[in-house]
Amino acid sequence: MHEYKIFLKEKKQIDELMEQGCQIVSVKENLNGAFVQFRPIDEEALDQVNTLRLLTPDSRKYFTNQLRLKRQVKN
Amino acid sequence: MRIPDTKENLWKNFDEVRADLKPKEVMEEVSRCLFCYDAPCTKACPTNINVPSFIKKIASGNMKGAAHVIMEANPMGATCARVCPTEELCEGACVLNDASLPIMIGDLQRHATNWAMKNHEPLFQPGKPNGKTVAIVGSGPAGLSAARELARYGFKVTVYEKKDKAGGLDTYGIVPFRLPQAISLWEVEQVESLGVAIHTNTEVGKDVQVETLMNDFDAVVLAVGMSDVPLLGIPGEDLDGVHDAIQFIEKVKDGHLTDRFIGKRAAVIGAGNTAIDAATCLKRLGAANVSMVYRRSEAEMTAYPFEYAFAKQDGIEFRWLTQPKSFIDDGLGHVARMECVRMKLGEIDASGRRRPEKVKNSEFYMDIDVVVKATGQVRYTSLIEAFGLENDHGIVKVNPETYQTSNPKVYAAGDVIFGNGSGEAMVVAAAEQGKKTARAIQEQMLSRI
């Protein structure tokens, strides 16, 4: 089992969305994983919502750390 | 060991040298075993006994299971517990060698098989009869091991043994203070209990013809081992007091202890494990002094280091670089002196060891009353020829995968296929070959159905 590979895939998805200027707007965690909603900061593209379903615990840590980082930058 | 002075107290010297582990020793030892995964001890065992498994079973109190694990992998498991050079095999591979002390695997194996001997629990059942028959010539470790496995596969097995008792080397050739005869005979019983017929006092080629075997059985396994010590080819070899080590040990092992060696001066010719067995037996029979006479030096001797150490502990003397030239009688037909010549080591010979060469004018005499020759064993060449098998000076050629000889109906295992110059054959190796031979026969026969 190489769970790390799944994490890398999920991390890449998160990074790509972040690089595209998306921010995390909601997180729903349930029995099936973490469902993280990304939306562009850009006002014109507000209707383009991307939801990632994250399976690995490392990804669940990762997006939280990214979220905090963004907050710190903002403040 | 005490120096015996009467026949009565000779016996004590032939009790097993190494004591059984005490129950607390067993518990401490099994608790120390790490239960390695993919364990090197198992890989180092020629029969691949699952050592961690049987040790764990002793620890859990599953003694029958422990004995089963051992005997399943090695039908000579009780013998091997006592005679295996464990420091070169399982114990030598134990990972604890690097951390503390290796587990006493041989002694634990002995503990488990002792339980089986004492409790008479049947460990194995014969297989469903498959209608096929196999004759096995020789009931030593290779033959018995093949017989046990074939019986479990469902073959009808008949074993021919020329001696009075079955077991071969284990019954007759290993000194009793290392391996009591009862251990070997228990292993024979285990094989017989699976319905294997063992005809003792029946020599193939004499009491039963080779042709009969070839006609009456679906397969034949030749597991006759090796024979007596070769003649030295020097004058006086026929004198009284000059013995063959194989025959000498056989008598001791069979319980024929004599008081006629008490106080005698003895010489053993050779320095292999058999020579050491003969020397230590002589000492235990009361010989005043025992010298081992070897034409090469200490470095070339083939005995295991622990055997050599054991001999030194018994007070055996070593005459290195010495070769007997003739035995001289006392005028009454009994050996009294041995003429020897000193040797020196020359160039490397075919065996990879330095060739011993005579030192000119170095002859000298040793006063001796007993000589035991232990310079190797001759082969049963005529029997092998009678089967018409390809061989190299009595070493039967086999396919290393199938143990089939030049006659596909005849298989061979044990010392009879054991080559020159690669040390001494081990019981455990013979047992494994017997197992593999049985498996090969099973596979061949099944593929024909």
């Binding site: 790390y4 707007v25 905090r68 | 390695c36 620890a59 690097d98 951390a99």
Partner: protein
């Protein structure tokens, strides 16, 4: 030489090592031998209405050839009349005025009964009282011991009854046979207890004889549950001590009990908040002489740490004992195998493969030798491999640089802002 003396709820003791109430403190003869051996105090075997005992009474868990990993008893409180015990307490106290004697008490949950026994034992000069609300067997069926110790109201009430009559400090001994020990610890302090001691023994059945199908131990073919103690219970005791010690609403002194057998165990209990210590099973296993190394070892340890007094240890680890939600999720360690120490038993491989995250690979190195390697990216740092590894130093858990710390509580708070 550090100062090993303690002040436990006002009771001064030359060292923190007391014998717990139990078979070793059954008589003056034993307690006096213990004091000669160096014990700082003894909690006398529980006094109350004399009972009768059964035979046999003890049993033990032996593990891989090691005797007494755990210990179980179905013995009750003292079976000797109170006046005999009191006479021996007085005599012992006279011979050993510097050593601490605590009277362990157990009577029916009746106010007068508590008043009566407290007065009687204080009259012979004990240094303190320990209320036995803990024994899980026998006495509990008569409404005493853990039967009362499991009901916070009863703990509080009986403590206050004892306190009404007591002039010496009152220690309440708690039973671990309860879901949350802090509830009864709180009740004890509400009842006015000066200190608590924990843990008493844990409900247990040692085993079944596979030949007779009798319980172990058995009394004429029948058995009953007993109280479990000894090395095996130490982690349970330590956690319960820690739970009580980290309660912010109470600073009640704690006497730590449960599997203490060496100075190391002692130091751990003190670091986790115990001011005093009580020992029973180890003394039953090896005799009173074990206290010598407890004292010597603790002394050397304090010197090595540069601490002048054993009291400096008390509670130092308590702030480190937290709720799971306070642990840093970003902290990361991984296993690393030191090839030069590894003996190739492959225990780490099979443990990881079957019991953890399948990240230790067996391979053959360039010299053809077997070797093991951790795939660090898949290692979750669970410690299993280093736990099963039989060679100290062969597997290290290496800290890996990670993100800034973030606890679960912080993470949830962050997500709640969305």
């Amino acid at each position: 030489m550090a100062d090993l003396s303690i002040n436990f709820a006002g009771i001064k003791s030359m060292n923190p090592f007391w014998l717990a109430s139990g078979p070793p403190t059954n008589s003056g003869y034993q307690v006096q031998r213990a004091f000669e051996a160096g014990w700082g105090g003894a909690v006398w075997k529980t006094l109350g209405d004399p009972i009768v005992n059964v035979t046999s009474r003890f049993s033990a868990l032996h593990y891989n050839g090691q005797r007494v990993a755990g210990f179980n008893n179905i013995e009750l409180i003292t079976d000797r009349p109170l006046d005999v015990n009191l006479r021996e307490i007085a005599e012992t106290k006279k011979k050993f005025p510097k050593q601490v004697i605590i009277a362990s008490l157990m009577v029916e949950p009746v106010q007068e009964k508590w008043h009566e026994i407290v007065k009687k034992v204080e009259d012979v000069g004990v240094d303190g009282l320990e209320l036995n609300f803990g024994c899980p067997h026998g006495m509990a069926e008569r409404g005493m011991g853990s039967a009362s110790g499991q009901v916070p109201e009863l703990v509080e009430k009986q403590t206050s009854w004892a306190k009404e009559a007591a002039e010496t400090p009152v220690i309440v001994k708690l039973t671990p046979n309860i879901t949350d020990i802090t509830a009864t610890a709180y009740a004890a302090s509400q009842g006015g207890a000066d200190a608590i001691s924990l843990i008493n023994t844990i409900n247990s059945l040692m085993g079944i004889d596979l030949d007779t199908w009798n319980t172990i131990p058995n009394v004429a073919g029948k058995g009953t549950h007993g109280g479990y103690c000894g090395p095996a219970v130490k982690p349970i005791a330590l956690s319960m001590v820690g739970e009580c010690a980290r309660q912010t609403d109470s600073n009640i002194p704690i006497s730590g009990i449960g599997g203490i057998g060496t100075w190391r165990d002692a130091a751990e209990f003190m670091l986790m908040g115990a001011t005093g210590l009580q020992v029973c099973t180890a003394a039953m296993h090896h005799g009173f002489r074990i206290v010598e190394d407890m004292i010597d070892g603790l002394n050397n340890y304090l010197d090595e740490k540069g601490l002048a007094s054993v009291m400096d240890l008390v509670g130092r680890s308590v702030p480190k004992y937290r709720d799971w939600g306070d642990l840093d999720l970003n902290h990361r360690v991984v296993a690393r195998i030191n090839q030069d120490q590894c003996i190739h038993c492959n225990k780490c491989h099979i443990a990881c493969e079957d019991g953890a995250h399948q990240c230790i690979e067996m391979y053959t190195d360039k010299n053809g030798k077997p070797a093991l390697k951790v795939r660090e990216e898949d290692c979750v740092g669970c410690n299993l491999c280093s736990i099963v590894c039989p060679v100290d130093g062969a597997i290290d858990m290496i800290e890996k640089p990670g993100e800034e710390p973030m606890t679960w509580n912080e993470r949830q708070a962050l997500l709640n802002t969305l």
